[in-house]
Amino acid sequence: MNAFDYWSIVQGALATVVLSVASIALGIPLGLGLALIRWARVPFFHRIVVAYVSLIRSCPAVTLTLLIFFALPQFGISLDPTPAAILALTLSTAAFNCEIWRAALINFPRDQYDAALAFAMPRRLRFRRIVMPQIWRAALPGLVSEMTLQIKSTPAVAVIGIVEITRAALRVGARTYEPLPPFVFALVLYGLIVFVLIRAQRVIERRQPVEARA
C-alpha cells in the first residue's frame, strides 16, 4: 500500500460521512413523521407505514439500493448514483428511526400528556412544548445507535458505483492482491467515525441537566 492508497481510503471515508450525514439528516425527521402517523393512527396511512417499516426492516440494504437504482428508471425516474444512494439510505434509516420515535411516543407518560390536555394546550403546542422536548431525549440513544448502524451499512451503496471506505479499500486490494492491509486501515477509519458519534452522544446527554429527566 502506498501513500496514495491510504489517501484514497480517507477520501472514501469522506464519502461515507457525507452520505451518512445526508441520509441521517433526512431520515430522522422523516422517521418522526412516520411515527406520528402510526401513533395518531391516521386512517389508511398508518397501515402503509406499518407495511413499509416491516418490509424495509427485513430488506438487506444492498438489495434496496439495487432496486432503487435499477427499478426506478422503469417508472421514468432515473437517478444518478449519489442521489440514489442517499435515497436508499434515507428510506432504510427512516424506517428504523420510525420505530425508535414510536417507542418514545408510546412510553411517553400518559398523565403528563393528560396534564397538557387539561392545561388547554392545543395539539401543536402540546407536541412542541411538552412531548417533543422529552421524547427526543428518550429517543436519542436509540437514534445514535441507529446512526452507527446506518454508517456501517453504507458499504451497501458501493454496488451502484459509490466509492466509500469499504469500496476504496477493496480497490486497493484488487490492485495489490493484498486485501488485508487496506481492510485494517478501513476498520480503523470506521472505528474513528463511530467513536466520534458515540462521544457526541455522551456529550449531548451530559449537557442535559440530569434532574430534567423524568
Partner: protein, 306 residues
C-alpha cells in the same frame, strides 16, 4: 396562534366578570338552551354515563357545584370518581349527558351537536384547573417554568406578568426557594404544591383534585392539605376526590358519595359523617374507622401462619 390565545384570554375575563356580576351574561341570555343552570353554578353535570367496553363505569350521574363550594367526592376504589373528574374537562368523553362549566357547554358546540375541534376544546379546558394524583409535572421544565408554561403559551399572557404571578403563587405555597429546581429534585409534597400553583396560575373557574395526597408519604400529606384548606377558606370552587376523611369533614361544604358509578348520597359533612343515610355509605365509613379487626378466621382450627 396568538389571536386564538387572545380570544381565550378575553373569554376567560368575560367569564370571570360574569361570575362576579351575578347577572345573566349577554352570552347566556342570547342562548335558547332551556337546560341552562342558574348563574352562580360553576359546574353542572347532567346525566353523565360512560362505559369502557362492558364495564359501565358511570351511570347517569348529575352534579351541580356552585361558586365557592368545596365538594368532596368519596367512594370505594373503582367506583368511577376519577372517570367523572376526567369527563368534566373532556379527558374522557362521556357516552351520554352534558357538562357545563361556567354556563358554557363542554365538548360540543353551543346550540348544536357538532363536536368541538381540538382548539375549541383547549379554550374550554382553560377554564378548569386540574391537580393530579401523581402530580404530572413536566419534568423537563423547572418549577417556575411549569407554572408559567400554560399562562404564557395557552393564554398568551405577557412574560413578565406571567412570571410575577407564578412567583407570587409559588411563594404562597411555600416554594419560593425552589423556583429554579427541576421537579425530580422535589419531595412529593413539594411536587403537589407546584401542581396546585400550576393550576391556580390559569385563574380557573373551578379546580379539580384527583386524590392529591394519596401518592404522598403520610408525613407530607399535611403540607398539601394545608394549601387546599387555605384555598377553601379563600372561596375557591373545588371538587376534590380524596380518601382523607378527616380533611373532608373539616373542609367540605358538601360530601358527594359515589358507589358503582352512581351518586348515592350528597349531604353536608356533618350529616354525612354523623348520620349517613344509606347502608353503603355506612359500610364505607365503617371500614375507614377501624381498618384492622383481627384476621377473619373461617374456622377456629385454621392452620397457623407460623
Amino acid at each position: 396562534m396568538n389571536t386564538s390565545n387572545d380570544a381565550a384570554l378575553t373569554m376567560l375575563r368575560e367569564v370571570a366578570a360574569d361570575g362576579t356580576a351575578s347577572a345573566p351574561s349577554a352570552a347566556a341570555a342570547a342562548s335558547g338552551n332551556t337546560a341552562r343552570p342558574a348563574t352562580d353554578t360553576v359546574l353542572h353535570l347532567n346525566g353523565i354515563s360512560k362505559s369502557f367496553g362492558e364495564n359501565h363505569v358511570l351511570r347517569d350521574v348529575s352534579l351541580t357545584v356552585h361558586k365557592g363550594e368545596t365538594v368532596c367526592l368519596l367512594g370505594p376504589s373503582g367506583c368511577g370518581k376519577s372517570t367523572l373528574l376526567r369527563c368534566v374537562n373532556w379527558l374522557e368523553i362521556p357516552d351520554a349527558g352534558t357538562v357545563h362549566v361556567s354556563n358554557r357547554r363542554m365538548g360540543v358546540r353551543e346550540g348544536s351537536s357538532i363536536k368541538m375541534s381540538d382548539a375549541e376544546l383547549a379554550r374550554s379546558r382553560a377554564r378548569i384547573g386540574m391537580v393530579f394524583q401523581h402530580f404530572a409535572l413536566w419534568p423537563h421544565l423547572t418549577v417556575l417554568q411549569n407554572v408559567m408554561e400554560a399562562p404564557l403559551h395557552v393564554l398568551g399572557r405577557p412574560r413578565d406578568e406571567a412570571r410575577a404571578d407564578a412567583e407570587r403563587l409559588l411563594e404562597r405555597v411555600g416554594l419560593a426557594g425552589k423556583m429554579e429546581a427541576f421537579p425530580s429534585r422535589l419531595s412529593g409534597g413539594q411536587k403537589q404544591r407546584v401542581g396546585i400553583a400550576r393550576a391556580l396560575a390559569m385563574k380557573p373557574d373551578i379546580l379539580l383534585f384527583d386524590e392529591p395526597t394519596s401518592a404522598l408519604d403520610p408525613m407530607l400529606v399535611g403540607e398539601v392539605l394545608n394549601v387546599m384548606h387555605s384555598l377553601a377558606q379563600e372561596g375557591a370552587t373545588m371538587v376534590i376526590v380524596t380518601h382523607e376523611m378527616e380533611f373532608a369533614r373539616q373542609v367540605a361544604s358538601r360530601i358527594v358519595f359515589m358507589d358503582a358509578g352512581q351518586v348515592i348520597e350528597s349531604a353536608p359533612p356533618e350529616q354525612f359523617f354523623g348520620a349517613p343515610q344509606t347502608p353503603r355509605a355506612r359500610q364505607f365509613l365503617a371500614r375507614f374507622r377501624s381498618p384492622h379487626q383481627p384476621f377473619d378466621d373461617t374456622a377456629g382450627d385454621a392452620p397457623k401462619l407460623l
